[in-house]
């Protein structure tokens, strides 16, 4: 394996949690809901995932538990924002704070416990293709899941009736309601899906990427996933581009640190955050304003 291949491989691993979380949030926002609590759902996924994996000794159980934890957090968010029509921005912030705290409590007994990460699965034949093979087809299952999510969500949103209804709820909930679509039900399911994705992304962090628990280990990835959705103009394949871009920046700064680039390591570590800001500005400048779902972030209370 060449050095370049090795770097690409690590870029893909670093990008995968961002991509999974971003795709989930993309669906949520397409339905008209802004859930800022991705960070909180993600870290709960990480904590519950490793706790379940260590307790049961099964990585699969860990992943399942992480997904359920993300969904439980999302359900809490949905209860407040959809059931009680509360301000989505504020509840999203609350979810982030709450998740960071609760994950610390859940993860506390597991600090310092090392375990084997989930290994790679090479796809027969495909992984033998020179260059592309080892980079794309000899990865861990999460990477494949991320690919499948991008394709699946893209197909769902733009090729199925349910996807059309979901987009309609995000564009104009009053009209969708008038046509008899169940706006709150659609949004609830979308929020749950977002929670499941964030939980899965968290499981990736604690079960594969750094296979042990540290408090606050998401390190702002949930927030970067939110930025990726904006960058992607709410299109799944562009979210993939965005996620690999951010993953690339993360890996490059790590390589730069280890290669002894004469810059403070803190400056290099700040690069992903600074790039996020830069990208948010550039995207707004190039696109000349928001192109998000028209009803994004607005609470809906049906007359009955």
């Amino acid at each position: 394996m060449t050095l370049f291949e090795a770097i690409l491989l690590t870029v893909i691993t670093a990008s995968t949690p961002l991509l999974i979380a971003a795709i989930g949030e993309l669906v949520v926002e397409r339905s008209g809901v802004l859930n800022l609590g991705v960070e909180g759902m993600m870290i709960m996924g990480a904590a519950v995932g490793i706790a379940a994996a260590i307790t049961t000794g099964s990585s699969a159980f860990g992943v399942l538990a992480a997904v359920l934890a993300g969904m439980a957090m999302a359900a809490l968010f949905a209860l407040l924002t959809l059931g009680l029509a509360t301000n989505q921005v504020a509840v999203g912030l609350a979810l982030a704070i709450f998740g960071l705290g609760l994950s610390g409590v859940v993860g506390a007994p597991f600090v310092g416990v090392q375990r084997e990460g989930i290994g790679a699965i090479a796809i027969p034949y495909l992984s033998d293709i020179p260059f592309i093979g080892p980079v794309l087809f000899a990865q861990d299952p999460f990477v494949y899941a991320a690919f499948a999510l991008v394709a699946g969500v893209s197909w769902f949103l733009f090729r199925t009736r349910a996807g059309l209804v979901l987009r309609a709820c995000g564009e104009n909930h009053a009209s969708a309601h008038a046509l008899g679509h169940h706006v709150l039900r659609v949004r609830f399911l979308a929020v749950l899906f977002g929670g499941a994705c964030a939980g899965l992304a968290g499981a990736y962090l604690s079960l594969v990427y750094t296979p042990f628990w540290t408090s606050g280990m998401t390190a702002g990835r949930g927030w970067i996933a939110l930025a990726i959705v904006v960058f992607a103009s709410w299109l799944p394949w562009r979210a993939a581009v965005g996620a690999y871009l951010f993953g690339g920046v993360t890996i490059l700064q790590l390589h730069a640190q280890s290669a002894g680039v004469p810059l403070p390591t803190q400056l290099l570590a700040a690069m992903p955050y600074l790039i996020t800001i830069l990208v948010l500005v550039l995207v707004m400048r190039l696109r000349g304003g928001g192109a998000g779902p028209a009803a994004l972030g607005q609470p809906f209370v049906p007359d009955r």
Binding site: N172, S175, A176, L179, G180
Partner: protein
């Protein structure tokens, strides 16, 4: 149509009750629609028409009463159930999605899961059959209002309805577009489909319908054949009493020009909007100038430019009492004696969750002495509320309630009164009586006329042609951002104005 079997009603609703908080929107309403009938549902704004049809379409649940379809009792938990029976509905405020295509918009209203390309093909077929041309792949925001309504109608027809409900369909159309709609409706009726036509426009109802149910304050007050009535007799049933005629001065005023606009062009502020193109007008002391036009032809841009919410490109494009104010902001114009009443009461003219005294401050902080050295004078703010309340008969519970606690008519009286009381030299008002009960509308119109007769200049932007014909000395028409020359009302006919509203002259 004379066989006894067909005499059974298609739809028979009895004793429907619907309550919103303290408001009894429908009070034991009965409605019977016969097969193939064109049935009008008449009533003022707020009489309960929309509530009634939303219950018939499964969007609202009645608290009491029964609905029968072809003699069988039915329950409509959601619109899907209504559509399955053959009830279709065209909404007043279209239930369309601007960023989706025509075909996608249609697909969202169909219950069978059909792939969008197949829907597009069927759509083309139906729109051809009824003479309602539509391009399936276009996004809705690119379409005109008339085209948008076509989508609503076509997607109802694609479900082969037995009863088509239309909620105020002509309120957004030019008279000529409305004629096209009537032709379509005639064709739909010729196929034996019934039409339930909601309107407060009496001439339309007389032309189109053979039965009318009239609602007032949530109750059915009359059932009649509108063709045997006069517009005046229908209006009496709708309003309940004769509406007082306005006291109108005889001669159009010839005072000095107070507001002069020259060659004003403004780009639209969002890509879907309409801007202004080379607008010129003169408004004299003592005069009421009416700006007619169908919604979405630049009314918002005109109000924003005249008020200073959006600045004109050059100062001398707007002259107020001799001063070039095109580059002056809204408060500078207020200090020069101008006042403004925007179209939207809640959210634009007033903040819903703030008290009336705070809302008095919204337009009053610049020129009414409510603020000194940056500090609020709460006493003066309250005094202003009291003065408006007295002069405009604003009905409210506490002395200083939140704006959202007032009814539409009372809030409108407040936001108009808030400006009129300052005796402005120029008043620009948009849709002064939109959605307001007849009593409040009369009071507001009279106040505007009195203000003009006392020497102010009043500019009224309105989509209600009757209102303009009643109040204005001269009328100009706004179409696609251009303004026709203002002409004295005496020399104008409804037809002439209607043609201009459609861009035909």
């Amino acid at each position: 149509m004379t066989t006894p079997l067909l005499d059974a009603p298609l739809l028979d609703a009895t004793g429907l009750v619907k309550r919103f908080g303290a408001l009894l929107a429908n009070d034991h309403v009965d409605l019977r629609v016969m097969p193939g009938e064109a049935h009008a549902l008449l009533g003022e704004n707020g009489a309960g028409k929309s509530t009634l049809v939303k219950m018939l379409y499964g969007l609202l649940q009645p608290e009491a009463g029964h609905i029968a379809w072809e003699g069988r009792p039915i329950h409509l938990p959601e619109p899907r159930a209504a559509r399955a029976l053959g009830i279709g509905m065209v909404f007043q405020h279209f239930s369309l999605f601007d960023n989706l295509t025509v075909a996608e918009n249609v697909a969202l209203a169909l219950d069978a899961a059909e792939p969008v390309p197949r829907i597009a093909a069927r759509l083309a077929e139906v729109s051809r059959a009824y003479g309602l041309p539509l391009e399936p792949a276009r996004e809705v925001w690119r379409l005109s209002v008339g085209e948008r309504q076509r989508i609503e109608i076509v997607r109802c027809l694609m479900q082969d309805p037995r009863l088509l409900i239309l909620d105020e369909p002509t309120s957004v159309l030019t008279p000529q577009e409305a004629e096209g709609l009537f032709a379509t409706l005639d064709r739909i009726r010729a196929e034996g489909r019934a039409v339930l036509y909601i309107s407060h426009k009496l001439e339309e109802v007389r032309r189109l319908c053979e039965t009318a149910t009239i609602l007032r304050h949530g109750r059915v007050v009359a059932r009649t054949d509108p063709r045997t009535e006069t517009a005046a007799s229908l209006a009496r049933m709708m309003v309940g009493s004769e509406v007082a005629a306005l006291r109108h001065a005889a001669a159009p005023p010839e005072g000095p020009v107070r507001l002069s606009v020259r060659g004003l062009s403004v780009a639209p502020d969002d890509p879907h909007g309409v801007g202004l193109k080379d607008i010129s007008l003169d408004l004299r002391r003592g005069e009421v100038l009416g700006i007619a036009g169908v919604a979405g032809n630049g009314q918002e841009a005109l109000f924003a430019a005249l008020s200073g919410e959006v600045l004109a490109p050059r100062a001398e494009q707007i002259i107020l009492d001799g001063a070039a104010v095109g580059r002056a902001d809204i408060n500078a114009r207020r200090r020069k004696g101008a006042a403004f009443v925007p179209e939207e009461r809640l959210g634009h003219a007033a903040a819903p969750r703030l008290t009336l005294s705070d809302n008095a401050l919204v337009s009053g902080h610049a020129a009414s002495g409510m603020v000194r050295h940056g500090l609020l004078d709460r006493g003066r703010m309250l005094g202003w509320v009291d003065a408006v309340t007295r002069a405009f008969d604003v009905r409210k519970g506490p002395r200083d309630p939140e704006a959202r606690a007032l009814s539409g008519g009372n809030l409108q009286k407040f936001v108009v009164g808030r400006e009129v009381l300052r005796k402005p030299g120029l008043l620009v008002v948009s849709q002064p009586t939109w959605g307001v009960d007849a009593g409040a509308a009369g009071l507001i119109r009279q106040a505007l006329l009195d203000l003009a007769r006392a020497g102010s200049a009043v500019l009224v932007i309105s989509q209600d042609l009757d209102e303009l014909l009643e109040m204005a000395d001269r009328i100009a028409v706004l179409f696609h951002g251009t303004l026709s020359p203002a002409e004295p009302v005496a020399g104008l006919t409804r037809e002439a104005i209607g043609l201009r509203m459609g861009g035909a002259a």
